[in-house]
């Protein structure tokens, strides 16, 4: 489903975030990327989601070599990948409903069908009652769940989450981890990063450890 072959990523200014990383993630698998802060976890996830491009090596998602895709094709691939951002990237000038509806609007879904799917996604993360609220009014954990609702509303086959349990207390973190486990159980390929041991234990999945941008010894 997702293949990294000798992937390196250098940012302008020379910082090398990833070096010679090769990882295979099968369809329907759940994988946790671990490592200390700055190990390259976020970069790996962004490359898998088509948000950034590799400097060298090859990233293949759903059989498509992302390096060979043009800007438009890459954008269309991003529609099929759900991404939960570490900094949420919610829009605070509109309601929870409209935030979750954004990917459906981009996909051009009709208003009624979109509203139905938005409500289903909000229900899944337990925020249906807050549909009309502004995200500012939500707690940190609720904002995280809103972000997850937005990532799953388009029913992606791949769900990627960057530190979804960061800055959450243990109860909230557990609820979030359970959500990802439930998505994986219905066949969604899940790739998430975390450095929280409790969450890792609860996920009970394969781990890919990064250290200084390189794969750490298993």
């Amino acid at each position: 489903m997702i293949q990294f072959s000798s992937v390196a990523k250098r940012y302008p200014g020379g910082h090398e975030a990833l070096r010679d990383v090769s990882v295979d993630i099968a369809s329907g698998e759940m994988v946790a990327v671990t490592g200390h802060s700055g190990a390259g976890k976020s970069t790996l996830l962004k490359l898998a989601a088509g948000i950034e491009r590799a400097s060298s090596g090859m990233v293949v998602v759903n059989g498509q070599n992302l390096g060979a895709l043009g800007e438009t094709a890459l954008a269309i691939l991003r529609r099929r990948v759900g991404f939960v951002f570490q900094d949420h990237k919610l829009l605070y000038d509109r309601s929870c409903h409209d935030n979750v509806a954004l990917p459906l609007r981009i996909a051009g879904l009709g208003r009624e069908e979109a509203a139905r799917r938005v409500r289903a996604a909000l229900d899944k993360v337990g925020l249906l009652a807050r549909e009309r609220s502004n995200p500012v009014a939500l707690s940190g954990g609720e904002q995280q769940r809103l972000c997850i609702a937005r990532a799953i509303v388009n029913r992606p086959s791949i769900l990627i989450a960057d530190e979804p349990t960061g800055n959450l207390d243990a109860d909230y973190a557990r609820a979030i981890v359970d959500l990802f486990v439930s998505f994986n159980q219905v066949g969604v390929t899940v790739l998430l990063s975390t450095h929280d041991e409790a969450s890792l234990g609860r996920l009970g999945c394969r781990r890919v450890a990064l250290n200084g941008g390189k794969l750490a010894a298993p």
């Binding site: 950034e52 491009r53 800007e71 991404f83 990237k89 609007r105 981009i106 996909a107």
Partner: protein
């Protein structure tokens, strides 16, 4: 999703953005409308002058006045000499009695003229000539002045040539105004759209992360620019026609005094449509340039 549906959604989004800032949108449209109305009004003024000038006989004529003591025999002889000249296209005789009658009819001098004991006007010929070139007209005057019993030769049409030149000068000025103000409209719309883009920068960034293509991001802004231009063009035409109606009333009242039809000529329907659609086009162009520039800045680091 069909192309039409994509654009319908983008148009709806553009209208939503209009509605979200009604005052700012309204002011922008008024500013644009004034910029577009200026050349429309200038074009109207030029057309009006052109129309009035068209009512004036601008064919080149030379008037040949005979001496007061010219006999009928002299009149006939001068007429034949004029007709024989290669530059004369048409020769018309105006007897002195007719000239006096015409003068009494068309001016307010009737009372003074009535006190005269004899007709002060000479016999005259009006000759339509084949040339307006100053040198050839000069030669004509020299030739015809030499005919016995010819008192005066007046080539009285230089002003008509000058009027034509003024109208052409006005047309050039108008073309320059269209160019400058058209550019201004594109830049104003571009600037307004750029502000819009900056206002929506977070939404654009998140949308791009969620898979919006550059075209998806651009589309509502293009509709916004085009609609803004279209509305401004419509308002400009409305402003100009309002002005035409307002000033036209006074001008028409002057018509009898000048013996020619004076009126404000509004642009014909096709040109009016061109102004409105052209404004929409300029709005679109301005939006395109502004969005392209800003998209480059915000593009997902892919």
């Amino acid at each position: 999703m069909t192309w039409a549906r994509l654009h319908l959604l983008a148009l709806a989004e553009a209208m939503r953005r209009f509605a979200a800032q009604p005052l700012a949108s309204g002011f922008s449209i008024v500013v644009l409308a004034i910029a577009i109305a200026l050349p429309v009004i200038a074009a109207m003024a030029l057309r009006s002058v052109g129309a009035a000038a068209a009512g004036i006989d601008t064919d080149p004529h030379v008037n040949v006045y005979l001496a007061l003591d010219a006999s009928d025999e002299d009149v006939k002889r001068v007429g034949e000499a004029l007709k024989a000249h290669p530059e004369a296209a048409q020769v018309r005789f105006i007897p002195r009695a007719q000239a006096l009658a015409e003068l009494k009819a068309t001016s307010h001098l009737a009372e003074i003229l009535a006190t005269l004991d004899r007709n002060p006007l000479p016999h005259a010929y009006t000759v339509r000539v084949r040339t307006t070139a100053a040198e050839r007209v000069g030669n004509l005057r020299t030739d015809w002045s030499k005919i016995p019993k010819v008192d005066q030769v007046l080539a009285d049409f230089e002003w008509a040539g000058r009027l034509g030149r003024w109208v052409r000068f006005g047309n050039r000025l108008l073309a320059a105004a269209w160019l400058l103000l058209g550019g201004a409209v594109a830049f104003i719309v571009g600037h307004l759209i750029r502000l819009q883009v900056l206002t929506h920068r977070q939404e654009i960034e998140v949308s791009q992360l969620m898979g919006a293509t550059a075209a998806d991001v651009r589309r509502p802004f293009l509709h916004h620019g085009a609609v803004q231009g279209f509305l401004a063009g419509g308002l400009a035409v409305a402003l100009a026609s309002g002005l035409a109606a307002w000033t036209g009333y006074e001008l028409r009242a002057l018509t009898p005094d000048y013996g020619m039809e004076l009126k404000v000529v509004f642009l014909p329907p096709m040109e009016t449509l061109t102004v409105v659609l052209g404004a929409a086009g300029l709005g679109l162009a301005g939006a395109w340039i502004a969005v392209a520039r800003e998209l480059k800045r915000f593009s997902v680091k892919a």
